[in-house]
């Protein structure tokens, strides 16, 4: 990643002790924001937030309602739902990216946050890759082979495309497991359905 700033994690959790525990685990690696309820969570959510840890059972706005509103806003953050019980399959339809069942251990929390960051990094890379491939195709359709061979812009474009191919192949081990595959597809299909 070229951005040296720490990724931002927003914890939405009504029990202060629990929220503080997550904070202690995460603060060394991420910028952490804490919200005590759904309304506060939505207020502290902006484009800078990369991952939201969302408690499902909260007084006031429930985790489900908060999630719905997050998805209603045009934000690219990934949401991990924190549940008291192992959820049913129907929960997968709800539009979050991972779930964690309480009690959560430190390594588990780190793993989940890292995985979600990697996935969103993959989506960003794929988006950039597509934009450049479009540009390349436009040039190739509009210009002759000789013109392309002389073009600095075209050469740079090709170089950047090759770089992105390598980056994509290395992110998430190049879509090694099934859940990475499915979430990557969900993400690309999500825009226009």
């Amino acid at each position: 990643m070229t951005d040296s700033r720490a990724p931002v994690v927003l914890i939405v959790e009504d029990e202060p002790d629990v929220a503080e525990t997550y904070n202690l685990w995460l603060e060394a690696d991420y910028e952490v924001r804490i919200a005590e309820n759904g309304d506060e969570g939505l207020a502290k959510l902006d484009e800078d937030v990369n991952v939201v840890l969302l408690d499902r059972m909260m007084p006031g706005l429930s985790g489900d309602e908060v999630l719905e509103r997050i998805r209603g806003r045009d934000l690219s953050c990934r949401v991990a739902m924190v549940t008291a019980v192992e959820p049913d399959f129907d929960i997968l339809e709800m539009g979050f990216d991972a779930y964690l069942s309480k009690p959560i251990r430190s390594e588990q929390l780190h793993e989940t946050v890292e995985k979600l960051l990697e996935r969103s990094n993959y989506d960003d890379l794929l988006q950039e890759y597509y934009a450049l491939v479009e540009k390349q195709a436009t040039l190739e359709t509009a210009k002759s082979g000789a013109e392309l061979a002389d073009s600095n812009e075209y050469e740079q474009l090709q170089g950047r495309i090759t770089e992105l191919q390598d980056d994509l192949a290395q992110t998430m081990g190049g879509i090694e497991d099934d859940s990475d595959f499915i979430t990557a597809i969900q993400q690309i299909g999500g825009d226009d359905t």
Partner: protein, 222 residues
């Protein structure tokens, strides 16, 4: 390595690296689908797994056609993701599905998540049956493009190619060059490692291979 030279008689395709995805492009009625299915059948005859993602024919038709192609071979491991099964549910787990056959239904060619899940389940079954090598055919991208835009199809192809790479399988994807703008074809090509162009020549159907070897092969009849 995968050897496709039984189907396409050129040295260029005799050592295809696992994880390679190839676009089969040509005008309508030039045998793209037949070529893709023959590439799969050739693998099945050598004991590899095969998986078809179909947007045009229903699963039963695909299975029937495939059984004819591979008749005489034993232990065929064949998966079908039927994307045109409006409203019907999965049949894969039913007892009337013969062993070695895995069928999943998806509601529409635009339901990419459903297709992804179908592919995942078929790959699991094929792997579970011991098919560590295998070939996937997606027929066709042109139909998919009528349900969703080229950006989505491009990304889908890229992600699917990556998944095939991790699985060590190869993939062939068909597209009707007459049905899309030049720009669309140009963009989609980039999602693949190689390209097989087909055309109707004076002496019948011909094909050439681009991107697999340093220079394109000559047109040769198929």
């Amino acid at each position: 390595m995968y050897d496709l030279s039984n189907v396409l008689e050129t040295e260029a395709v005799s050592e295809i690296r696992p994880g390679t995805s190839v676009l089969i492009a040509g005008p309508a009625m030039t045998g793209k689908e037949n070529l893709a299915m023959e590439i799969l059948a050739d693998g099945s005859r050598q004991g590899e797994g095969a998986l078809v993602v179909t947007t045009g024919s229903d699963a039963d038709t695909v299975v029937e056609d495939y059984q004819e192609r591979v008749s005489g071979s034993n232990n065929i491991q064949f998966g079908v993701v039927d994307c045109r099964a409006e409203g019907s549910s999965g049949r894969g787990g039913n007892s009337d599905t013969p062993p070695g056959l895995y069928i999943h239904h998806v509601s529409s060619p635009g339901d990419l998540t459903g297709i992804g899940i179908g592919i995942t389940k078929c790959l699991e079954s094929l792997h579970g049956s011991g098919a560590t090598e295998g070939r996937l055919a997606l027929i066709s991208l042109s139909t998919m493009l009528t349900y969703t835009d080229r950006e989505t199809v491009f990304k889908f192809c890229h992600v699917l190619s990556s998944r095939l790479d991790a699985a060590g399988y190869i993939g062939v994807f068909t597209i009707d060059t007459g049905a899309h703008e030049e720009q669309t074809l140009q963009v989609l090509k980039q999602a693949f490692d190689g390209l097989i162009e087909v055309r109707e020549g004076d002496a019948g159907r011909e094909a050439r291979v681009l991107g697999i070897t340093d220079s394109p092969t000559d047109w040769a009849s198929i």
